[in-house]
């Protein structure tokens, strides 16, 4: 194989592994590149990993085999920095659990913890606590059922955050149903 061919093959392997969500079976790539000999293919992979990834300080990725597949992963020594980069401050962010909880409270208010947990299918005391701390919800009374559970409702801060004048401005479910009822179309981005 001449150097030019080798480069093209390494570029293709990089592009394929970059795009793939899952590790890719080496045999598929070998076949695709038209390499019949496994040793030749291993030589390409070794050149790619050693010379073009491991040995190069400007590269942030390495080649990895896992579950019988090939994969690009970040270099282990960058891990701490990446973790730092991708961690966000808790205070300004809402988790999906909190958003789900908030959406239930905004539409079903006043709602009890049991009602919220029932709708979400998981105990929701964590998100409720966090929303209370963020002052997006508040306790407005007790439900007249055994245990007298607290009733939660949204706050003024909630309206401000979501740019609403009052709760009646929340989109109605009928409207949304109409918009989303249509059969799922394949997304462009999946």
């Amino acid at each position: 194989m001449n150097p030019e061919q080798l480069c093209k093959q390494i570029a293709l392997i990089e592009a394929i592994l970059f795009v793939s969500k899952e590790p890719v079976e080496p045999g598929r790539i070998m076949e695709f590149l038209g390499i019949g000999d496994i040793e030749e293919f291993e030589a390409v992979l070794a050149a790619m990993d050693k010379e073009h990834l491991q040995a190069r300080p400007e590269r942030g990725l390495i080649l990895k085999r896992s579950g019988g597949g090939l994969q690009l992963v970040t270099k282990p020594d960058l891990h701490d920095e990446l973790k730092q980069f991708f961690t966000v401050k808790q205070s300004t962010k809402l988790t999906l659990a909190s958003l789900e909880t908030l959406s239930i409270i905004s539409y079903r208010q006043p709602a009890t913890l049991a009602e919220i947990s029932d709708m979400r299918g998981v105990n929701s005391s964590g998100p409720v606590k966090s929303l209370l701390q963020k002052k997006l919800i508040k306790i407005v009374g007790r439900k007249k059922v055994p245990g007298l559970p607290a009733l939660y409702a949204t706050t003024q801060e909630f309206l401000i955050y979501f740019g609403l004048n009052d709760l009646s401005e929340l989109p109605s479910l009928e409207e949304l149903t109409e918009l989303f009822e249509e059969k799922e179309q394949p997304s462009l981005f999946k």
Partner: protein, 244 residues
Amino acid sequence: MMEAEFAGYQVQTEFFEGPLDLLLHLIRKNKMNIIEVRLSQITAEYLSYLESKRGINPSRESEFLMTAATLIYIKSRSLLPKPENPAEESPEKQLLHTLIEYEKVQKISRLLQEMEYTELLLWRRLEMNENFANREYTLKEVSAFQLAEIFFDIVKKKENEQFLYISSKNYSIAEKQAEILSLLEGSGFIDFSVYVARLDSIEEIVVSFFTLLEMVKRHLLVAVQEQLFGTISLFKNEAGKLEN
């Protein structure tokens, strides 16, 4: 440039997106200038297209017919001696204005199509690395409509689930009693609201509640509420065990 790609667009115009698309096609076909075109001149052609239904989306027929009515009206006005009323915009001017605007829309569409073509040559990463998966949202990025969508999703999920419960689960007081006793065996007491929150359906809550009442009545359990509005704790009644 991407003339070849646009060939596809040109072919598609044979399938008309709407009455405006058809009108523009006829104007271009007759090499007329959109600013000076007399719509009455292409009325007949428009109507014959409708009759042959060539390249017309039948589900949008009413819109094609409405425009046909407007065209006929314009033509009839052009045949009659018209009383000059400059204050009122003629239906022809209105339609022409709409057409001119629509022509811009088509141009932008072509541009977007070209950009789409260029972008589709580039492949992005399909999925984020799970190790760094970050399921948090900045508050101001979340709109009331997203909130509504999330709620709508939950309702939909729940509706599907409840359908399953009806067909797959039955609760009996005997089973519930065994379950409650084994929970008590483990932790010594049950927080009522926590317990109820874990249950799957209204049906299960009702059965559990009756079971608890029954067990309290039979002195198998003691219910304690330590403060007003506080949660109710349920303890095993050792005396009840003897009685049982």
